[in-house]
């Protein structure tokens, strides 16, 4: 089991979380549910004071539903309730620690659409989720890599499962984790202007980008690297004149929700080198983890990919300096750090990290928010 260094408590300052969230910001929550995933992505406001939310996995319904209640409360709520509050729920794969709470969410929040990988699985959570989908009359997709959905200016791309994995579900050796729907979220993607009655696309710097890794393992990531290759710019005069072959780095990310709770099978050095995220977030339990997540060998790979020291022999910087944060982290006063929220502006210049001090069994309380310096 890895040992995590306590974060100096002076690096965390109490503050007003809601005041930090501007109308144009994306707000990403990684809730502390122990070894499990529960993520909520608040989209930028689509009308004054109103947003929608995308939900990715619900390990425990109470934790996610309580977050919605909290965000809808107060004089100027960040996420007021509305009939079309949730345009999309993603059930990344059918393990209990990702989908156990989805049936209740479907019942109480009536989302518009659900994605799940189509890996039929004889677990209790899978049966309950299917019953709930059947009852809810909800649009239902089983996506593979490359599927894209825009929700306003936010673009969501399915990175995995690749179709060759999908075609081997589950009878031919594809582990349930490798059925995971991993996602890329990009913002802003409404990259065009209207001027004098004409529309034209605009070339802008790379958008803010989040990779949400679910529990995809190395086989799945290998397929992702084939499906989403990094391509260099052509560089020829003709290519530049025609704005063609400008180069793509499709896995480069600002934020990476590390796959499979920091399991040794969930990442590779090369993947993190490609993503080079400024924030790497791990959802795990550490002391209470049944599987000993996060695994030391996985963390060492992340650290090495973010700050190569093999040749120099230097020690790695501390995790928080590398942008590596854990839901199970503690500070030097031994206070739990708990759920994580990241507020991202559309320029990518603002990336505030907030911690809420909740344990896996507690609800998130905004009044306990501390901002990471």
């Amino acid at each position: 089991m890895a040992e995590l260094k306590a974060v100096p408590k002076d690096l965390l300052k109490s503050g007003a979380f809601l005041d930090d969230c501007d109308p144009d910001d994306l707000v990403y929550f990684l809730l502390n549910v122990g070894d499990g995933d529960a993520q909520v992505l608040l989209l930028p406001e689509d009308s004054p004071g109103k947003r929608q939310a995308v939900v990715v996995d619900v390990a425990k319904s109470s934790k996610t539903l309580d977050l919605f209640k909290t965000l809808a409360a107060g004089e100027k709520p960040l996420l007021p309730d509305r009939p079309d509050l949730i345009p999309l729920v993603v059930a990344s794969h059918p393990h209990e620690d990702h989908i156990a709470g989805i049936p209740k969410l479907l019942k109480e929040k009536a989302p518009e659409e659900i994605w799940e990988p189509g890996y039929y699985y004889p677990g209790a959570g899978f049966f309950s989720m299917m019953q709930a989908i059947e009852a809810a009359k909800i649009r239902h997709l089983q996506p593979t890599s490359g599927l894209v959905r825009f929700i306003g200016p936010v673009k969501i791309t399915v990175l995995s499962p690749g179709i060759s994995l999908r075609n081997r579900f589950d009878s031919y050796g594809i582990d349930t984790n490798n059925s995971s729907i991993a996602l890329k979220v990009e913002y802003p993607m409404n990259r065009y202007v209207e001027r004098n009655g004409d529309r034209s696309a605009v070339k802008l710097p790379r958008p803010v980008r989040l990779l949400l890794g679910a529990d995809a393992q190395t086989l799945s990531w290998a397929q992702v690297q084939i499906d989403f290759p990094q391509l260099e710019a052509n560089g020829s005069a003709v290519a530049e004149a025609l704005q063609k072959a400008n180069g793509v780095d499709p896995l480069k990310a600002d934020l990476f929700k590390i796959a499979h709770h920091g399991s040794k099978h969930g990442i590779s050095l090369e993947l993190i080198e490609l993503a080079k995220p400024s924030l790497s977030l791990v959802s795990s339990d550490l002391a209470g983890s049944r599987y000993g997540f996060p695994h030391l060998v996985a963390l060492e790979q992340i650290r090495e990919a973010l700050e190569a020291t093999t040749t120099s022999g230097k020690k790695h910087s501390d995790d928080w300096e590398l942008g590596l944060h854990y839901t199970c982290g503690v500070d030097t006063a031994k206070a739990e750090l708990g759920s994580i929220a990241v507020v991202l502006s559309k320029t990518g210049r603002k990336k505030s990290i907030w911690r809420f001090g909740d344990s896996p069994s507690q609800s998130l309380d905004l009044s306990g928010a501390r901002r990471f310096a």
Binding site: K60, S61, H95, E96, D97, A100, G101, P103, K104, G118, Y120, Y121, P122, G123, A124, G125, F126, F127, S128, M130, Q131, I133, E134, A135, A136, K137, H140, D170, D175, T176, N177, G288, R290, Y291
Partner: protein
């Protein structure tokens, strides 16, 4: 009754009936409805992650009801002793071709296996590795095949709406007869 039809006409109202345990008296060779439903979630190194829930009940539309999420619990158990117990005391819950049962008994544990087990799970503990096979009381009934079938049906019900009638399924099956097991003799 919740709206459940995506395509086609609405289903006729169903007569309310008491929920019965899944499989009792018509799928499995013995009554296992007082056991727990144990799914192998992960096989990790020397350990096996399992999800334990009460035995499912059958809803009035034929789907399986596992109760609330709070009724389920995860656990981590020792792989070797679990595997050994399976080799010694795995009971296959249904009729199988000759020889298959023995092979099934020896098969290694895999993610997605499902067993009916009378469990002894200490309250509040998830890590049961030190218990060896002490968390298993008696035999282990392998219900993997039926559970997989039920899961597939559950997914198809959610996706495709109204079920086929038995007559329709029979007619379609008869229009696509199984090929003969042996090639016909050459003239």
């Amino acid at each position: 009754m919740p709206q459940r039809i995506l395509y086609g006409p609405p289903l006729p109202p169903r007569a309310a009936e008491p929920r019965r345990p899944w499989g009792k008296g018509y799928i499995f060779k013995e009554d296992i409805s007082d056991r727990d439903y144990v799914v192998v979630e992960e096989v990790a190194d020397e350990y096996v992650g399992i999800a334990v829930s009460p035995w499912p009940r059958v809803c009035e539309d034929g789907g399986l009801d596992f109760g609330d999420e709070e009724d389920r619990r995860p656990a981590l158990v020792d792989r070797t002793s679990f595997q050994r117990r399976l080799a010694d005391r795995r009971v296959v819950a249904y009729e199988m071709p000759a020889g298959a049962e023995e092979a099934l008994r020896a098969r290694p544990l895999a993610s997605g296996d499902v067993f009916a087990i009378e469990t002894k799970l200490p309250k509040g503990r998830e890590d049961l590795r030190d218990e060896k096979a002490g968390w298993i009381k008696g035999t282990v009934v392998d219900v993997t095949a039926m559970a997989r079938d039920a899961a597939k049906a559950s997914m198809l019900a959610a996706l495709s709406g109204t079920p086929m009638s038995v007559d329709e399924a029979t007619a379609l099956s008869e229009s696509h007869p199984e090929p003969p097991a042996e090639p016909p003799p050459q003239a």
